[in-house]
Each structure stands twice: as structure tokens, then as C-alpha cells.
């Protein structure tokens, strides 16, 4: 067995050698981040006047760009489809996939990618018309449910209705647009997909207030960011940017108050803002003030959530599982120390 003293020596030697740094170096040399997003998902990625993208996934990429370049605009957004998103990562066409993708075993192990963290904890829900007498999924007995064909949505529904011994009629359609149209045409009592998707689609209806999402969530859909596997430094940069968004939220450091907190005595706040003795950014190829840049230029996780999908946004989603762990949700990050 290797002697302990020798092992510790190796530890010290390895500690000062940076991990393979290909992707981060490429991004820095290029001068901007290439971020894969979904097309026009309300609250997550939508394009506004002047071709300005906004949304939860857009803001994650802006935070990553802020940490690297001190400039949240140093991002090129690239549309990725459900089919080409993994290949876009592994070919290097995009640096990071922020398009919300459910983290599953097959995707994590067979696509050549690694998941960074769950930007949004979602689950499958049901949208119904208000006043139609459906207060819970139990009320959908013998009713039709519209879903997109060949998706896990259909399998989850099969499991749920069978387990709860509720009869129902699944009606499936090739595309999401056809599924929604069928629901709006009254062909189904309910439309089922991820709850965030339901809220997003509802916000595009002529009269969103006429529709309500039932309380039951029948699956877990952690919508997560991904990178190509094989570059530990890049994975950790992407992961600690996500953690910094959460840690800032937990410490009450916001885009508004971040400059006032520069004089804080709180040691956790000082470490977050790069004001403690120890430098956490440089060892992963960033700067000492990497997390300050994120909060100053983009905000913390709660601010990003509220701005894009929160109760006062058109999506009107309550935080639910996406509240911080100390506020009843499950969003949690290890500390910067």
C-alpha cells in the first residue's frame, strides 16, 4: 500500500495542477459562450423586441457568461431541438445545454453528456378548463386526456391511472401544437405534460385565466442543464455557477443589495463575494470575484425564478419544490468554503 506520507505528497502535487481545461480555454479564446436553448418556451426562453432573449434558461447562461467574462451579454444563443441537443453538445457546437431537459438515467449515461444541476424541479400535471367540474385528477374518471405521442408523459399517465384504478381515455397526437389544439377544440377534458410546460402553454392561450392546473403532480421531472462529458473543469465551472446562484439566494445577497454587502462581517457572504482571504474562483479558471459578477449582473436564483416564471410572471408558478431547502423546497447547494 502506498505510504500515507507519499500519498499526501501526491495530493499536494495534484492540487496545483489544473484539470484539463479545454472547454473553458476555448470559450475564453472565442470571447463568448455558446448556449443551447429551446425555441420559444414561455418563461424559459422567449425572444422579445430587438432579438433579446429572456427566460430562466437564458438567465442561467447569462450567469455563466458573467462569471467568465464579467459580461452577461457575451452569449450566443443557439436553438437546439429535442433531437439534436445531445449531439450539439458532444460535437462542441454548443458549450452548455440550458434547454430544460429531464435528467434521466439514459440521458446521463448513454449520450456522452453529464448533467450539471436541476434548474427547475418539475413534474407532470393536468390542465383543465375552469368551471368544467374537475377539481382533482379523480374527477377525470372516464374522460379523455390529450398528450403528445411517444413521450414519457404517456407512460407516466398509464402508471398513475392504473395504480389509482381510475379509468381514462388517452388521446395522443404527433406534435405538441396538435395536442394543444385538440385540447382547445374540446376533444379532451385535460391536457397533460410537465407543469411548467402547462403554465407556459396556458400563457399563450387567448384567455389564460379560464384554465387551471390540477393539484396532482404524477411524476418527477428534474429539468437540468448539461455539458459534454470528459471535461471536469468545465463541469465544475457550470455546476458552481448554479450553486452560487442558490448560495446567494440563501444568504440574502441580491442584485439590488450586493454592493451594500461589500462591507459585510458575515464570513459566508465575504467568501461568496470574493472578499475573504481565500480565492475560490482562480482554481477553476475564473476570478476571485466570479460569484459577485453573477449576482451583480444577473441576480440570485430566487430573483431569476421570480422574474421569469414566478407568481407575478405570466406563468404564475408558485416556487413549490423550487423554493430553497430552508423555505420548504428542495433547491440546495453545498457552501462556498
Amino acid at each position: 500500500m502506498f505510504g500515507r506520507a507519499a500519498a499526501v505528497l501526491v495530493l499536494l502535487l495534484l492540487s496545483v495542477v489544473p484539470a484539463s481545461a479545454a472547454r473553458l480555454d476555448d470559450v475564453k479564446t472565442r470571447g463568448f459562450l455558446q448556449c443551447g436553448i429551446g425555441a420559444g418556451t414561455p418563461g424559459f426562453a422567449t425572444i422579445g423586441p430587438g432579438d433579446a432573449w429572456s427566460g430562466l434558461e437564458v438567465d442561467y447562461c447569462r450567469a455563466l457568461a458573467a462569471a467568465i467574462f464579467n459580461d452577461p451579454q457575451a452569449v450566443h444563443f443557439i436553438l437546439s431541438t429535442t433531437e439534436d441537443r445531445w449531439q450539439s453538445l458532444t460535437s462542441g457546437a454548443i458549450d452548455v445545454l440550458a434547454r430544460p431537459s429531464t435528467w434521466t438515467m439514459e440521458r446521463d449515461t448513454a449520450m456522452g453528456v453529464s448533467f450539471v444541476g436541476t434548474l427547475f424541479y418539475d413534474g407532470q400535471g393536468f390542465l383543465v378548463k375552469k368551471g368544467a367540474g374537475y377539481a382533482s385528477v379523480n374527477d377525470l374518471e372516464n374522460q379523455s386526456v390529450c398528450m403528445q405521442a411517444n413521450t414519457t408523459t404517456v407512460l407516466n399517465a398509464e402508471d398513475f391511472f392504473a395504480t389509482n384504478k381510475i379509468g381514462y381515455h388517452p388521446l395522443t397526437f404527433a406534435s405538441r401544437a396538435e395536442t394543444i389544439q385538440a385540447f382547445l377544440d374540446g376533444k379532451c377534458a385535460a391536457y397533460s405534460t410537465n407543469a411548467a410546460g402547462l403554465a407556459g402553454d396556458r400563457s399563450t392561450f387567448a384567455t389564460p385565466a379560464d384554465y387551471v392546473i390540477l393539484p396532482e403532480i404524477i411524476s418527477k421531472e428534474p429539468l437540468a442543464v448539461a455539458v459534454a462529458q470528459g471535461d471536469d473543469q468545465w463541469l465544475k465551472v457550470a455546476r458552481w455557477v448554479y450553486f452560487a446562484l442558490l448560495d446567494a439566494d440563501e444568504l440574502g445577497v441580491t442584485q439590488k443589495n450586493v454592493d451594500e454587502l461589500v462591507g459585510s462581517d458575515n464570513s459566508e457572504v465575504k467568501r461568496l463575494l470574493g472578499l475573504a482571504d481565500e480565492d475560490f474562483g482562480t482554481p477553476i479558471g475564473l476570478t476571485k470575484d466570479w460569484a459577485y459578477r453573477i449576482v451583480k449582473l444577473v441576480g440570485n436564483y430566487g430573483e431569476i425564478f421570480d422574474r421569469n416564471v414566478g407568481p407575478n410572471s405570466p406563468l404564475a408558478l408558485s416556487p413549490g419544490l423550487n423554493a430553497l431547502w430552508k423555505d420548504g423546497g428542495i433547491q440546495y447547494a453545498p457552501p462556498i468554503r
Binding site: M1, F2, R4, A7, V8, V10, L11, L14, S15, V17, A19, S20, T82, E83, P100, S101, T102, W103, T104, M105, E106, R107, D108, T109, A110, S114, F115, Y121, Q148, N150, T151, T152, L155, N156, E158, D159, A162, T163, T193, N194, S219, K220, P222, L223, A224, Q229, D232, L235, K236, W240, F280, P283, L321, W325, I330, Y332, P334, P335, I336, R337
Partner: protein, 358 residues
Amino acid sequence: MTPMQSSVRHCFQLLAAAFIAVLAASDAFAQQVASDGPTLAAIRARGHLICAGADPLPGFAQLDSKGLWTGFDVDFCRAVAAAVFGDPSRLEFRALEGDARFAELQTGDIDVVARDADWTMRRDTRYSVSYVAPSFYDGQAFMVPSRLNIVSAYQLNNLKVCVLDQGDQLANLTDFAFVNQATYTEILYEDRQDLAVAYGKGLCDAVSAPASWLNAVRRTLDAPASQVILPERISKSVFGPAVRQGDDQWFKIVEWTLYALIDAEEAGVTKSNIDSLASAKTHRIRRLLGLEGSFGPAIGLSPDFVKKIVSAVGNYGEIFDRNFGPDTGAGVARGQNALWKNGGLIYAPSIEAGDTGD
């Protein structure tokens, strides 16, 4: 490790090496090696997993009367061994202390650290190791003798508090006293065994340390039932397995072993009912049992790897109860370590495909 174990292991390695030399001549084995990353290949060649956990700490890792390791950390190691070999006993467990455990990960002396040092940015980014996922949530707490009739940390004032003079524990204590305008006389110890002895002898009124460790200390005291761990947590810490950086396949084997334990609990699949679920109809359970889809082979495991894990060690909740439940004589509430759907933070992505949806 004793010299006896060491020489046995050495002989085993020589035999394994000879075995590989013979097999390497066949094309079939060449393909097998090609699909195994460096860590998995080394483990298969060695014939057993080397897995480290907390230095002896009741509940997490302790030697039983037969000289066998048991505990939460040991059970996780057994789960990984079951995933790789279908046999939880193909395991050499080592109890390590300090950051030496990371050096031994780097050199390949150990394959995985089950759970020990808490996950921090410094450890995750500077030691060429990667934390895999959270497996145990903890936080710094206080323990007091129940005769003091104290039920909340906010009642603590003008007391002698024993605390470790290292890491952030003293800083957390002084921060908490400052914020609550309380006065403590801090009695500092360099070594946690000394701290435990001092508290046992009544040299301090209270002791402050991570709740998991306080629970372990409580079990070693004469009358565990006369000690109270107060409900407040004055820091957050999260623990999880760690692996050597640079081998994605091995990272994912450890990651999905943990997720399999969690998913099994969530789906109600237990060590005792798993054989009776072979006729289950729900897609979710059939995927877990390897009867629908095929998820293990992408990372060098068999399609029924979850079944092997749960048959050997049970699900996450069963492991927790075995090591911290009421039968252990020092029950720990699940708290943050309950499943997410039961108010805790333990969560795992699903063992499923992605299909064409988001």
C-alpha cells in the same frame, strides 16, 4: 489493514493478473475491457471494490462483534459492490480520517469514498476529486443533558460549551452566540475523541458539533436516553460519495447506485418485496427491476443492477433505518434525509429513458 489481509490481497492481485493475461488473448475479453473505463477495469481485475468511509463512527462505520464493518457508509459501499459484482461482499472497507482519504483516491489506493468530509467548493475543485451527489444532509447542533430541561438552542446562555477547535465549528458557534446575544464559555478540543470524553465526564454543559456526530457520541455515553440533541441547526452541511476526477463512467456508476437506492425507496421496492414484484405492471417498477428498458449496460453494469443492489442491501430508507432507526438504540429522525415527497431533501432523477419529450 493488517499484514495478513495485505498478503492475502497481494496474492489475489497476482492471481487476477495471471487470469487477465490468459483472458486478454481472446477477442471477447478485449471488447469487455474496451467498454470498461480505467477504474471499473481495475476493480474487476482486482476482484473487489476498495471503498472508504468515516473513521470509526457509530452508525456510519463500526466493527461489530465478529470483526466485520457495519454502518451507513459500509452499506453504501456494499451497494456499489453489488452493482459491479452482484455480490456485496466483494468489498474491502477502509475507515480513513482527514483529507488523506482524497490522496488515496488520487493514487488509486481506494476507488470511492462513501461519505465523509462534507461537500465544499474547496474540496470539490482543488483535490482532483469529484463529489457525486448528496447522500446525507447534516448540520451543526447542540447536545445537552436532559436534566437541564433545555429544549431549544435559543435557551442556551451562560453555559460551558465544548467544541472542536478546527474547521468552521467554532466559527459557527460564535456566530450563533453573537446573533442571539448569548454568552458561552467555549472549551476547545483538538480531537473529537477528547471532546467526547470531556463531555461524558461533565466538563461542559453542552457540546456543539454536526448532529450526525453528536448522535454517534450519544450512543457511546453511559445513558444515551438522558441526552437531548436540540432541534436547531446552526450550519448546513451535505455529505456524499466522492470519486477520482477523470473517469466519467465510474462517476456515473457511483451516482446511479445512489440514485437506484433512492428511486427504489420512492417506488416502494424493498429488500423483502423485490422478488414478489417480478409480475408488477407499472412501467416504473419494471424499469427498476430491469424488465423494461436496459439502463445498466451503458455504464458497464447489467440491466438488473438495481435488483442486485436492493436485494443485497435494501433501499435508501432501509439502509437509514438499519443504521439510525429506533432498533439501533439511538434513533435519528429522517428529517432532511427523508424523501423529497415526505418533506425531506433526498431526491434522485429517474431510471428511465428520455424519449422525445423534454
